[in-house]
Symmetry: C2
Subunit: 356 residues, 2 copies
DNA sequence: GAAATTTTGATGTACGTAAATCAGAAAATG
DNA sequence: CATTTTCTGATTTACGTACATCAAAATTTC
């Protein structure tokens, strides 16, 4: 049987009330007594029964998730996952609210962050936009002792507690490595499709991609980055133009925004020369394109894992408990046609009511 | 506030004791009363607070993990992860014991399964060997209502409750797909290194690999499978011979046993012609070889995830609770040099005390 | 309709922790 | 030394569920 608070009291020769004061850092305990209790805790190897403690506290964690609006499939999948987490909230003792703000709009994000702060929640998860104002808004939350986790896209320079997302530099490097090797002997330039360079995740992917391409596959020139603003029609037109202008294009790397337009452009392409296409985020569109052979590789981050990880980390931070880095690392999924999971795509499909 | 047993009692117009009898399917409730209570439960949307229930029951789940002995790095990593789970056992209310049996030995495994059964645990997780005797032994456990989860290698035809491992056919297909594309224009045969064809996971990987190679990359002949029995010295010798006999070898696929011998043979190779090497399981050896460029791709299954998933499933089955397939799917990790996680390899590193 | 049986209610204890109250003891202050 | 302040102990209630006991009510059986 594992030791309980009663055992601490007995071991330390103090009363239960004093043990409670020490455990929950309440005032009114002399330093000597406190140390006596702490030594007893150490000695008998007491660990708080979190389930019982939560039961006694009947604690709930009000959390705010701030996500970009718009029709980006990945972001909507992310929202679906947050809603799934809301469905589990009674079991997980969370009270999650979702706030959506226009994509790529730093001012709106700052407003949302400040409004979240006004509600003094137990934690905030945010898909960050890289901007000094946003950093300042995040730091204001932290100044109020509200834990902040960045989701999908990080916010370097801020005091955020944790980042729940993949290593995007590694993702870009991996894309380049696969691209270079898939191209094999073939020659020809490589195009890159981006949404906006405002978000850090896309910038980092591009950095990683460029580095490895330059280092190992310098035979393939990189065409100027196509910025499609995640607008399907615009992307389709721009990609179509690029393909027409450089028919010898050997590969395309899509950083994650505008996959629908990209796929449309690929479908309309007339040339039959092979193009190696690597895209980010597994959605119904990229999944279908992968199956059809239009896309060769999809790099993915599991939205469900990210959301669940963010919640775990926020709760832990709110309780002042340590988080285990290895446990919370979000892995980069590499999908070929051959290892696609059978079920619907993982970003759209909520994991039904159950904790991680 | 979520409804409690008291709310059920009030809603159904019965006493707490009767609600308890219905909830815990105790005898002594008239059918009409039972239905009244069940309707009330349905109506107010009651869900049992598992944490409180476990607290009240002070339930523990005695689980048995049966693993192959020997010095296979992956299996030892798996054992490390089970030991890490043992470290979390007080928090997770488990009492896990580990049984090791000689690898590739069906009789020993049957004995171990029957001995586990004699202890009537709450569940058994086993790295299966494909054999009618083993299937029968697993089915004996199931006949005693003891949940069984196969780990890493499945046992088709048995009544096991769940398989905690990757889709090995997809893994083999993925390996072939990567192999074929990495080879690009190059020609030359491809060698396959296996441990023993007794275990289903290796057979499935080989099946998947062969299928895709024949389908899409028939230009590369497959050399006869090298069976190294996971013996480093033997593997090194056999692979060395194969490389010497067929200097034009373009690729090697290692199904997961004997990576150390393979790496040793690769190091001693004199020819500088490029060989594409794809291996299973990320260990300190394959990690180093990946970094050194000796291996091109490592396919991995996260042992930690597998163990934690097996425990969750066994507990759920023991409680008669449904498991969520999507949540428990073990993903195939594809590692290139570029997306290796920073920390020590994930199979060796226990995730410190914390639930999933 | 009385007796035997089954069903239900009322109540208490337990799980391990949190949190509060109040009295008493120890320490610091004058 | 008396007084105030600070610390500590004893005790109780609560969280939501499980489980046991005993009495009372309802039902079935003869």
């Amino acid at each position: 049987m594992r030791p309980t608070v009663h055992d601490i009291a007995a071991a330390a020769g103090v009363s239960l009330a004093t043990v409670d004061r020490v455990l929950n850092q309440r005032a009114g305990v002399r330093v000597v007594t406190r140390e006596k209790v702490e030594q007893a805790i150490e000695r008998i190897g007491y660990v708080r029964d979190v389930a019982a403690a939560n039961l006694a506290k009947s604690r709930v964690y009000p959390l705010v998730f701030i996500l970009p609006s718009g029709d980006n499939s990945f972001m909507r999948g992310l929202e679906t996952q947050v809603r799934a987490a809301i469905g589990r909230s009674s079991a997980e003792r969370t009270a999650i609210s979702i706030v959506t703000v226009p994509a790529f709009n730093a001012e709106a994000l700052v407003v949302a962050l400040d409004e979240a702060r006004a509600g003094s929640p137990a934690g905030v998860a945010v898909v960050a936009i890289d901007s000094p104002d946003v950093i300042a808004a995040v730091d204001r939350l932290r100044a109020d002792h509200i834990p902040v986790v960045t989701l999908v896209s990080d916010l370097a320079g801020s005091k955020r507690d944790h980042f729940a997302g993949v290593d995007n530099i590694a993702a870009g490097r991996t894309a380049a490595s696969l691209m270079g090797r898939f191209l094999g002997g073939r020659s020809g330039p490589v195009a890159v499709l981006a949404g906006s360079m405002l978000v850090r995740d896309h910038r980092e992917r591009l950095d990683g991609f460029r580095t490895v391409m330059a280092e190992h596959f310098s035979g393939h020139a990189l065409l100027p980055v196509i910025e499609g603003q995640d607008d399907p029609a615009l992307v389709e037109r721009l990609v179509g133009q690029a393909l027409a202008a450089s028919p010898e294009i050997a590969g395309i790397y899509s950083l994650g925004a505008g996959n629908r337009g990209l796929i449309a452009a690929l479908k309309r392409r007339k040339s039959t020369a092979p193009v190696c296409v690597i895209a980010h985020e597994l959605t119904q569109h990229t999944r279908a394109a992968l199956n059809d052979g239009l896309i060769d590789v999809v790099l993915n981050q599991d939205a469900g894992h990210e959301v669940r990880s963010a919640i775990r980390v926020l709760k832990a931070k709110a309780d002042g408990v340590a988080v285990i880095g290895a446990q919370e690392r979000i892995r980069l999924d590499i999908f070929l046609k051959d290892n696609l999971p059978f079920e619907q795509d993982s970003n759209q499909m909520p994991a039904e009511g159950r904790q991680d």
